[in-house]
């Protein structure tokens, strides 16, 4: 399979007061199309930072990230936004849903931002709701859903614009084991049935095992 995400000597340094902390140290990494990769490592190893850089949410201090052969560092804000809308879909540990919007509205947010007519996405919405098992909860607000259901909404939102890549930051970190495994099974199904490339950051070996490849990180470096 051809590479879909590539990083070249990727570095990220944070300034904490007077002290500079090197979070990522010259990371070279390739993720191929259709892969399900789990990034593991202790807290502070830089795994989430790496994920955010891959998704264009943050800028590297040096080095480059190439997604689908496009260098993220040369993108304008508008290009970056379009990239986040169409090429990647994010799933976060704390779901990050908009509390006063219902399930449907939360899922359709990327479509709204893309300026597309919502009507055109009706069928796609129904399909996704079926996939994530929330067809009967479409009018509920996040407050009326359990943690697992909320994470399913977040996954549905990540899928609505049919991106090639799903980036998940601790997707089950806030859920009990049984619910968490349900979510992992859903992500695995999306990877296998829809062929989406999935990169997840996780602390859990059990969750990591759903992927095809595990990347271990320690002190800002990859230990593959």
């Amino acid at each position: 399979m051809p590479p879909i995400i590539e990083t070249f000597k990727l570095c990220k340094t944070f300034k904490l007061g007077e002290v500079e902390v090197e979070v990522l140290k010259e990371i070279d990494l390739t993720i191929n199309e259709g892969e399900f990769v789990s990034i593991m490592g202790p807290s502070g190893s830089g795994k989430s930072t790496l994920l955010y850089l891959m998704g264009g949410l943050d800028k590297p201090t040096s080095g480059r990230v190439r997604v689908k052969e496009v260098d993220l560092s040369i993108m304008t804000d508008k290009e970056e936004s379009v990239f986040r809308r169409r090429t990647v879909g994010f799933v976060f540990q704390f779901y990050n849903l908009v509390p006063n919007l219902n399930v449907e509205e939360n899922i359709m947010l990327p479509v709204l931002l893309d300026g597309k007519p919502l009507k055109a996405y009706r069928n796609r919405l129904d399909e996704i709701l079926e996939t994530v098992g929330l067809a009967d909860r479409r009018r509920h607000t996040p407050r009326e859903l359990s943690g697992g259901q909320q994470q399913r909404v977040a996954i549905a939102r990540a899928l609505i614009n049919e991106p090639d890549i799903i980036l998940a930051d601790e997707p089950i970190g806030n859920l009990d084991t049984k619910t968490g495994m349900g979510i992992m099974a859903l992500l695995q199904k999306i990877n296998q049935v829809q062929g989406k490339t999935i990169v997840q950051v996780t602390h859990s070996m059990e969750a990591a095992a759903y992927g095809q490849r595990i990347i271990n990180m320690r002190d800002g470096k990859v230990e593959e």
Partner: protein
Amino acid sequence: MGIIIKFVLKNIWEKKLRTLLILISVMLSSALFFATEALSDTAKDLFIERMKVYYGTADLLIYATHNSPSNFFYKHQAERFANDLEYIVGSIETGGNLIVNQETLRLGVKGFTLPELQKMNPFFLVAQRKLYPFQGNKIILSKRTAEEYDLKLGDYLEIEVFGAKRKFLITALAEPVGPFQYDGQNINAVVPLDTLATILNARGKVATLYLKVRDPARKGELIQKLSEAYPRYQVRETITGREMEEYSKSLTTSFQMMGTVVLFMAVYIIYTSFKVITRERLPVIGTFRSIGATRKMTSLVLMIESIMYGVIGGLLGCGLGIGVLYLIMLQILPEFLRNVTPTLRYSPPQLGAAFVLAILIAFISSLVPILKASRIPVKEIILNSNSKPKEKKRWQIITGMVLIGAAASLPPFVPFRLFLPTSMILIFASIIGFILLIPTLTNLFLTVFARVYLYLFGNEGILAAKNLRDNKGILNNISLLAIGISSLLMINTISISVAQEVTNFYRDGKFQIWLWTWQADRGTEALLRKIDGVEATYGIYTANYVEITNLKDRINLVHGVNQYKYLDYWAINVDPTLLAELDTGRKILISNTLRERWQVQKGDFLVLKMTRGERKYQIIGFFDSLMWNGSFALMADRYLKLDMNRQYYDDLFIKTNKDPAIVSTTIKEQLKRRSPYVSTMAELEAENIQANASMFRVMRGFSLLALVIGTFGVFNNLIISFLERQRSLALLRSIGMSKNQSIKMFFIEALTGGLIGGIIGVLSGSLLISISPLIMKAVAADIPLHHSLSLYLSSILAGVLITVTASTSPAFKSSNLDIVTALKYE
């Protein structure tokens, strides 16, 4: 305790913008409260200052009226009461024309003896030559007049007085104060009393007596005795308490209303700020409580914080209040008193009250959020589990609707004596009613806007409309705007209506020139009719401030009506047959304002205190009029003449068939011996508009102040809203919202918030306007309110401008948000 104070001070210091906002709110409220309170006393002083030009320190006046046997009288009857009086000063005063540099100026010529004048109205000479003995053709001018017209000591002045030209020698120049103060109409000069008396063949006599009583408590008794001593002359107080009260009330009422608006807004701002403060402090409160602090103790810490805002804001507010008072004074000071530095009258209790008010505002506004926070169980605070969805409060909608319904429907049923308190309660009720309904109304508007926005702003419009639902920051902004806009709308509508009615009043006159002159009668009318351009004249008998003994009130103006002429001169909507009926006996028509105030009906009797004693008049009808604030009545001229013992007309109305300004000049020229006061209606209207202009300027300043405080409040809410929404904004950025989209969304949100705030403000304002006639009637003027569409539209526009301007900073902050940091932390 030291640690707690330090903790509180640190909290205050850390959030500088919020501290500034709360302090400004407290400060402005207490400053305006103080300025309004002190204005009442200062305005009375100003009134006395105005009157001093004429009366000096005198308490009582005796002078001839139309009905006195002569214009002059002896002083000796008054001297019988010398033991009760500090001084008795006699004078003869008249108007003259000063011809200087081929220009004719109006001159007030005052005949006094210098020692007496010095006692009554102290003056200061800056230069003199051969002043003493002060007799013959000597004259004292003010320094200002001398400088203005290049006059010097030793110069002769040609003055036209009592129809003849006379030469006077300038023997002294005085500071332009006291009797030499320019009074806005006349330049004043002092000549020897004897000189004027000789010219008028009244040696040893005076035309006016000024008296100062030793014991002010005996003023009433002395008036009685002096009236008996001078039975056919007028004996009265120079300045009555009632006149002063009315003058001061006319100034302070509008300021009190403005102050209430600012107070409302301040309370709301402090309340919302404290809601945020208590939420922010919950973790600390939890920590305190978990280590053994009681609810009372944690609440006390927050209360100390609110009191500190009150103390600091109160101290600054008192200082600012003095400044505001000074600025108001400068604005309302009449032109001719501009060279006098206004004396600000305020007392320590007034400063103290403003200070206490500041503390109370801060304390009471913050009490509800503090008590609410204290009720949260410690477990919920520590586990941060206090995030149960709030159920929609149906009671809010019902209470809101009941309050608005009451405010809209009750006014017609309120009796006159309850107008003022009821109107205040109804204004409060409608504002609170609208605040309670704001979440529901906002959702209704948003449903409509969301559909329109799709076409106007694309998908960002829909997103903005969705974001606004149940957004506390925006709801707070809408409430703040609704309070501010509705109150300002009411005040401005009243101001505009007053201004318009003043204009309309002069337009109700169907004549062009108004004339007052001494001993005007049919002869005078005949003289006037001979003047080129004079088409017709109407001499009228009037009576002012006629007491109604059976109602313990008074009518400010009574016109003695000639049934055949009156309606040709005044466009008053009254049935002509009723005017005819006036002639059939002691009958009276009163304005609808008086009918409402007295709750009287056709057929009721009024007992009027007239010159010839008490007379019973029967009410035969009512009419609409704003003349003298609606305190106006009509009776037949023959009865007014008889009962008030009148011989001469009080006013003459003149119709012209040529340019009224030219005819007016001709009349002045022709009647100059009588020193008439002639004014065209256009001039009177302009004078009145000018007099109101400074008041409106101050009102506009206050409105601006309320808008500034509103803008600060809106800005604060938007910043709070931004901080609360950082995470969801970061989320939107993470799923593909560009910086431009983010800015656009923020501005659409602000625009919508402003628009809804403006619309609700206008709705609430319309309700307040419908209540305000109660206040107007209670305060004195039954003025029809003129609704201005442009005012309504500009109110909505102001709401939009305020929110859009205030959202600039949060909009750009949101676009530059650090997405990762905002997303990472719960």
